[in-house]
Symmetry: C2
DNA sequence: CAACGTTCTGTAAGCGCTTACAAGGAGGTG
DNA sequence: CACCTCCTTGTAAGCGCTTACAGAACGTTG
């Protein structure tokens, strides 16, 4: 019947399968989706035809018909370090549980995702999660008006939902530990609060404690989050005659590189300066002294993001609590504490 | 004209835009795609309407019409370590250059991607890249018959194209270095050759050198690729009374964990045993002794994969050479060589 | 045996976009 | 002024799938 003559010698469609099986396309669709009742006999015929023709459905056609892409978008910056990978893994896993595929966009090196790519991404998914600071607010709001949109670890933007791991409190705890437990008096923060919302929050925690204690808050040593930035920070400190006895770094990469550079100049950690990081990367527990840092439940966060997004897409918006996940301070030797046992314990 | 009454109060479509702008949908499509000539006047009208209505295209409809998903699929195992992240970044970047989106599927912890998910992925993209060993051969071949399919760092499978970084030769070089430069005589390989094709190739390189020298090839210490596996390997060696003076590990995680465990038992590296890894993770240059390892051009590999896939999709199949990328041995202290300078050099 | 209830299956109307083709308009030329 | 060309625009036919609705087939039951 259906004169759907393939103009290209392209793959089988639901029509060719229907023809081959001697049934209607509706029936074929039913056996594929497992919806509706189909007699065992015809089901077998259809399955046979599918097998024989090597039929492979075209997702776009289904998406169009059901008006759902059955996909979630995720926008991340460069995938350096374990943080984004973990987030992505949690996200992907949760998405897969709901039979959703995930389409990923990475912002070009350090910059933001251009509006065009972002719009194109939005066109292919049912909902999007964006890492804080990777897409500008304008584009964010525009899309948020059309589809569920979640910002991860971002700044609080009116009209846009946010999900994050705790920063300020842990940072304050870390700072207080340096001052109280180790008697440090001249702490500095390494990292640019303007580079990302979570760095800002970490700086806020740091600043809060200093203000509480009546200590003047030194300007943060601004820079990126990569190893080279840590080296630079160390060199600035060295050049200034080491005006600090404690360094709170925005992440582990910086802390590690800074520590090494300092050691190279004869400045001991933790003897001369205490150092802390953030993220608990693998190297943090292999170096000596071990790096005191903060561990975030990144993977859980990723999963939570995907689930929340899915809820928003399906409209099944459950309780919206728990939007900020707790983190944990991990004490090792770099702050001055006695080194704990070997890093043999299982990772993650 | 078009009585496309929205039954749901859903978003604007190309029809509503056309109505609002007082033109036909064909014209709207033209200005959006930038195809065909459109007078400046109407183009502005259309753009206005789009803006006013907050119009956002539905990618599925376009995909259906142009019979292209404009997306590439990528299947990876767990995203641990820098290897997969780098690969993914290279892939994504190259895909983005061709305006292709990337949809990602991760195999569940250590296992293979189930056929169902794989088929669903295949339905949503124009071509797929799969990491070696993550999808079983049957499924692989079935899909390969329908869409461009590339295996990355996998075994050579008849009928399936393959792209990889060099393994065997570098592994042989590393092994020879241990024997010749450092006079080691009882090397062992840590890693399960059956776990992944590239581990197998690394083992082959190792074995080749031993056979060449007339040294009996000891059974590899089989295990996974995570830190815990390195610890276990170390404990097996310890239990056996250290039957080795050189350990070639399948990757850095293993090497690092093993080294630490050995040190904990009083076995020195490289004094008592030389150790090498693979991948050159960040920690490799921070530990003391630095880890001698092999660096792969993973990011380039990812980019090459995406480009190749795109060529295959568009039919523009250029020269198919260079399917195996060269790697580089990175000498540090763990093999017994004098430690090179500080790891201050720029990462990656 | 007729009436009725279940299953199973087919018909057809979309889903929102692209694009071949045709038609309408605006100049230009002899 | 008739005719031709080029530029813009509209018409309409799909792309491959889902699904509401209706009809067919097949017992069951009174």
């Amino acid at each position: 019947m259906a004169t759907h003559a393939a103009r290209t010698p392209a793959g089988a469609t639901i029509y060719s399968v229907a023809d081959a099986a001697g049934v209607s396309i509706a029936t074929v669709s039913r056996v594929i989706q497992g919806t509706g009742a189909v007699s065992e006999r015809t089901r077998t015929k259809v399955l046979d035809a599918i097998e024989r023709l090597d039929y492979m459905p075209t997702a776009a056609a289904r998406s169009l018909a059901v008006r759902q892409h059955e996909a979630l978008g995720l926008v991340l910056p460069e995938l350096s370090g374990p943080y984004f990978s973990e987030l992505l893994m949690g996200f992907e896993e949760a998405a897969a549980e709901h039979r959703l595929s995930v389409v990923l966009s990475l912002a070009e090196h350090g910059g933001t995702l251009d509006a065009d790519r972002f719009a194109r991404l939005a066109a292919t998914v049912d909902g999007i999660a964006v890492l804080g600071g990777v897409v500008d607010d304008g584009a964010l709001r525009r899309i948020a008006r059309q589809k569920p949109l979640l910002v991860v670890a971002g700044a609080e933007t009116p009209g846009v939902d946010r999900l994050a791991a705790e920063n300020t409190t842990s940072s304050a705890a870390l700072t207080a530990h340096l001052l109280d437990a180790h008697g440090r008096t001249r702490p500095v923060f390494v990292g640019d609060p303007d580079i990302a919302p979570d760095v800002r929050q970490r700086f806020e925690g740091f600043r809060g404690v200093l203000q509480e204690r009546g200590i003047a808050v030194p300007d943060p040593l601004r820079g990126g989050l990569r190893e080279a930035d840590g080296v630079r920070a160390a060199e600035r400190l060295l050049a200034d005659g080491m005006p600090a006895d404690a360094v709170v770094c925005a992440n582990d990469e910086i802390a590690l590189a800074l520590t090494t550079r300092l050691a190279g100049a004869g400045v001991g950690v933790p003897a001369d300066v205490a150092v802390t990081g953030w993220d608990d990367v693998m190297a943090a527990r292999y170096v000596r002294p071990g790096l005191t840092t903060v561990r975030q439940p990144v993977r859980e966060l990723g999963g939570l993001v995907a689930r929340r997004l899915h809820e928003r897409v399906t409209g099944a918006t459950g309780p919206q609590d728990e939007s900020v996940l707790a983190t944990r301070v991990v004490i090792r030797g770099s702050c001055g504490c006695p080194e704990p046992g070997h890093p043999d314990q299982r990772a993650t």
